[in-house]
């Protein structure tokens, strides 16, 4: 039996273990350009795949003629839906998305045919020669229209992907008692993950199936869907996680996986597909655009008595993760506050807009923008300081969410806000000193030398669940092997957890080092040769795969100690691992690990499940549907040119509870990077869609923050142990992206007195009535 976590420690403290600022093991390869990303792969005889995509958001396909495309010199094959060997559709939750459309296309950019050729330009030109005869159909481009009774159903079960209704207490009664009521309607635009490494991969035919090297977030779910669509058993589909150039939710759904594999199987040759930036915008789901109508009621002291909301999430053409996003948006809809009475309705709909799904923050982002705007509005109506209002309503440990779930872990909402407010503000600009234009709104574009510039400060706090909720069997698997290399012990960590840039591999190595007291740890490439690790999503991998690594290491340690006892006859309870050796409590060397494993490596595989199973919500939205929660608060200081509507964010301050910072360097990186994405949503990032057509699929017109747009981030990390998790850690990745957006918009409101009810905030919104 392996020792439990409550057993006395069996490993001496190590350097570069848990809690240390350890450098990434892959950083050296990344700074020298030697790291292999999924677009950096090649093979002898490789062909290039290209995808024919629909120019229409909704159309019937009358016919597809590939004759001319096949005749282009250098083309090996052209495939359509008729060539899909297995299931015609795939999907993360619902298999509703065609591998290649056959009768109808439901969004602008939907794949219709594939080409493989000897050169990417040949493939591209041949793709342009595939003649698809479309009969355009009127698109449904608005969630409200999709819900209307008369709306034609885009899928057999209608246009509602998911409706979550949460009812608690007596809202009508509370409304009658409320002293102050504020209402507001808010909008969140369609944000793109904009990971820098475009969708890409290499499919290689094997004797019995296919091997795919791809950038993804969940190898085993790719494998499941891929095998089904290829009509192959899962073991015939081997997937290797190639270097991932960022993900942020955008690699949960399949993109080119089936396409490249189909082309490889048809041609018998390796096939490479690399999307360009434009195609990447069509190649993955986006953050759900949302319309949110809110009503908050409070008593005279500012205590919330009820919250009502109706939120529409536009899921676009296919289901993707809309259902789960809907659940998180609803579960977090009232904010990290004590609210006795709620009616919360969140819908995710099908439309003919681009499919939407997972993106960092996953539903919590949309809700937080609205409920935090409401809290500011309520504070103004009550004449209260907005931070004080939040503090008075703050959830704490032992409190209950509108779903009835009791918070048994840390919920330091008030503490985060108090610490944040205590942090010093950046200095006001010196009115007598001419400012460098790079420090002003507009930057080097030279739009102001100080004219029209006002400063604003805004606060927001947000939260999100960690892990997969709603009753999903959430687990991860790790295989740990200790062997001898040149007289030294070496640990190999093997999991299927996708390293997408967040630093999971660093943390796995730290945990192995800490548990085994062995410095040399190698993290093997993630592939499907080991059990599933689940998705690198939901801020869950450090907890879940970290837990699996810890658990497998404990099993390895038990075996090492057993061998030591067996060979040297000591009693095992007095032994511990230290610096690659088994030593007694008083430090006496019993055996080196290298000796214990020299002819017979120790290998153990363990699955880890968190100690709590989640459950689905019932028809009133009640249930323990989440594993735990992460909280973060943000304060934004902005300079706004109120005449031109241009903004420079001066500073973001943040306090986040991380449970335990396994690697503080990585934690800071998650916080700073997450805030940058929140800033992007606040100020500039939106996939613009008109009548179902994407207008800005490029980095020329879909703008993400540059280094001149990002201010310094001042962060404070709180470590309140999460009792359910290994080492007391908690998920870290998503909370930075949640409240940063509303904090910035709150600061903009403070500076401009404009309502600013939608993000991204456009210069027009700030200028308001001045323009026009």
């Amino acid at each position: 039996m392996s020792p439990t976590t409550t057993a006395p420690p069996r490993t001496a403290p190590v350097e570069r273990g848990v809690g240390a600022r350890v450098r990434r093991p892959d950083a050296r390869l990344k700074v020298t350009g030697e790291f292999d990303y999924s677009s950096d792969l090649s093979a002898d005889g490789v062909l290039w795949g290209a995808t024919v995509r629909s120019p229409h958001p909704h159309a019937r396909i009358r016919s597809i003629d590939t004759t001319r495309a096949r005749a282009v010199p250098g083309v090996s094959t052209v495939l359509t839906h008729a060539d899909v060997p297995g299931a015609k559709c795939y999907g993360l939750k619902v298999a509703d998305q065609p591998v290649l459309a056959w009768d109808v296309v439901r969004y602008h950019g939907e794949p219709v045919a594939l080409v493989a050729a000897d050169h990417p330009e040949t493939a591209r030109r041949a793709a342009a020669e595939v003649i698809v005869d479309y009969e355009p159909l009127p698109p449904i481009v608005d969630s409200e229209d999709a819900l209307a009774d008369a709306a034609p159903p885009l899928h057999p079960d209608g246009n509602v992907v998911k409706h979550v209704h949460i009812e608690r207490g007596d809202v009508a009664g509370a409304a009658a008692r409320a002293e102050v009521i504020v209402r507001g309607e808010y909008e969140v635009g369609m944000q793109d993950q904009a990971f820098l490494g475009p969708e890409s991969g290499l499919a290689i035919p094997t004797d019995f199936g296919v091997e795919l090297h791809v950038a993804t977030q969940w190898l085993h779910d790719d494998q499941r869907q891929l095998a089904a669509c290829l009509g192959l058993p899962e073991h015939a589909v081997r997937i290797v996680c190639a270097g991932v150039g960022g993900a942020f939710g955008g690699r949960e759904d399949l993109s080119m996986q089936v396409h490249a594999s189909m082309l490889a199987l048809h041609t018998g040759r390796p096939v490479k597909i690399v999307y360009g930036r434009e195609e990447s915008f069509f190649g993955h789901v986006h953050r759900h655009p949302a319309r949110l109508a809110y009503e908050h009621g409070a008593d005279a002291d500012g205590r919330l008595v009820y919250v009502k909301c109706r939120t529409l999430l536009d899921g676009g053409a296919y289901a993707s993760k809309s259902g789960a996003v809907c659940m998180v948006a609803a579960g977090t809809a009232a904010g990290p506050y004590v609210v006795p009475n709620v009616t919360l309705d969140v819908y995710a709909t099908y439309t003919n807009n681009p499919p939407c799904g997972a993106m960092r923050g996953f539903g919590a982002v949309q809700s937080c923008f609205a409920y935090e705007a409401q809290m500011d509005k309520l504070a103004a109506a009550l004449g209260l300081d907005p931070v004080e209002l939040r503090r008075r309503n703050a959830l704490e440990t032992g409190g209950e969410l509108p779903t009835g779930q009791r918070l048994d872990g840390p919920a330091p909402v008030a503490e985060l806000l108090e610490r944040l407010q205590a942090m010093p503000l950046p200095p006001e600009p010196d009115p007598d000193r001419a400012r460098d234009i790079r420090e002003l709104p507009g930057g080097v574009s030279n739009t102001t030398h100080g004219e029209g510039v006002r400063r604003g400060v805004g606060y927001a706090v947000g939260f999100k669940n960690v892990g997969m909720g709603g009753g999903v069997d959430d687990y991860s698997t790790a295989r740990i092997r200790v062997c001898e290399q040149n007289g030294e012990p070496e640990v190999a960590v093997h999991t299927a957890a996708c390293e997408v840039g967040q630093g999971g591999i660093t943390i796995q190595a730290q945990i192995a080092r800490a548990e085994l007291g062995i410095d040399r740890v190698v993290v093997l490439p993630a592939d499907t040769d080991v059990g599933s690790a689940g998705c690198t999503a939901g801020s869950r991998q450090t907890w879940l795969t970290g837990g699996a690594v810890k658990s497998a290491c404990e099993a390895v340690r038990a075996e090492l100690l057993r061998r030591a006892v067996e060979r040297h006859g000591a009693h095992d309870s007095t032994l511990l691992l230290r610096d690659g050796a088994v030593v007694s409590e008083n430090g006496e060397l019993l055996a080196t690990v290298a000796d214990l494993v020299v002819d017979d490596p120790v290998e153990e595989t363990r699955e880890y499940r968190p100690p709590r199973r989640t459950e689905p919500l019932d028809e009133n939205g009640q249930g323990n549907s989440f594993l735990s929660f992460g909280f973060a608060a943000h304060r934004a200081v902005v300079d706004v040119d109120v005449e031109l509507g241009l903004v420079r964010v001066v500073e973001i301050a943040t306090v986040q509870d991380v449970g335990r910072a396994i690697n503080p360097l990585s934690v800071e990186g998650q916080i700073e990077g997450g805030i940058a994405q929140g800033l992007g949503l606040a100020l500039m990032e939106q996939v613009q869609v008109r009548d179902g057509i994407v207008l800005n699929p490029s980095f020329t017109d879909y703008l993400i923050p540059t280094i001149l747009d990002m201010p310094p981030v001042r962060s404070q990390i709180l470590e309140l142990p999460q009792p359910l998790a290994p080492y007391g850690l908690n998920g870290v990745g998503e909370p930075p992206t949640i409240a940063s957006t509303p904090a910035i918009v709150s600061a903009l409101r403070a500076a401009t007195d404009q309502p600013l009810t939608r993000v991204p905030v456009r210069p027009d919104d700030i200028v308001g009535a001045m323009a026009g």
Partner: protein, 157 residues
């Protein structure tokens, strides 16, 4: 079309099957130098930054034939004898690398900045690196890395 140029001090030749191939494509697909990255191929992200005859450029915006006879230096050419360049060391140490797709471009752009301006101010760093998008780090640790690199290079004089 046959292209001959010097890449990282070595004479290299490549045959371009299509005259429209970019220097980025040739470096990657024909010379096996995958360090310059293909993030946008429209000059908006800087991840394909290389030196062309000593000038910092986006290699995606250079027609391969324009590099004929030129000297190209890529991220692969910065480390010497297996020793990381101080800029590379600084990026590793500062935690300025996450997914790393922007990193080669940023390393080359930082190298270029510090050649021209050994002690850049914050504002100067931000203006000089504004053409290099990063989606993971929020840039905070990149600024740290640039300053650290400046110190490392300064003390090495």
């Amino acid at each position: 079309m046959r292209l001959t140029c010097t890449v990282n001090g070595e004479r290299r030749e490549a045959d371009c099957a299509w005259e429209g191939e970019s220097l980025l494509y040739v470096l990657r697909e024909r010379m096996g130098l995958w360090g310059a990255k293909n993030a946008c191929e429209q000059g908006e992200c800087g991840s394909c930054s290389v030196y062309l005859d000593g000038t910092l450029v986006c290699s995606c915006l250079v027609l391969a034939s324009q590099a004929d006879g030129a000297e190209v230096r890529t991220v692969e050419g910065l480390a010497e004898d297996g020793e990381l360049h101080p800029v590379q060391e600084a990026f590793v140490a500062a935690g300025a690398v996450q997914c790393g797709f922007c990193t080669p471009g940023l390393v080359v752009a930082t190298h270029d900045l510090l050649e021209r301006s050994p002690r850049p101010s914050d504002a100067e760093i931000r203006e000089a690196l504004a053409g290099n998008l990063c989606r993971c780090t929020g840039y905070e640790k990149i600024i740290d890395a640039v300053k650290d690199a400046a110190t490392r290079l300064g003390s090495g004089d």
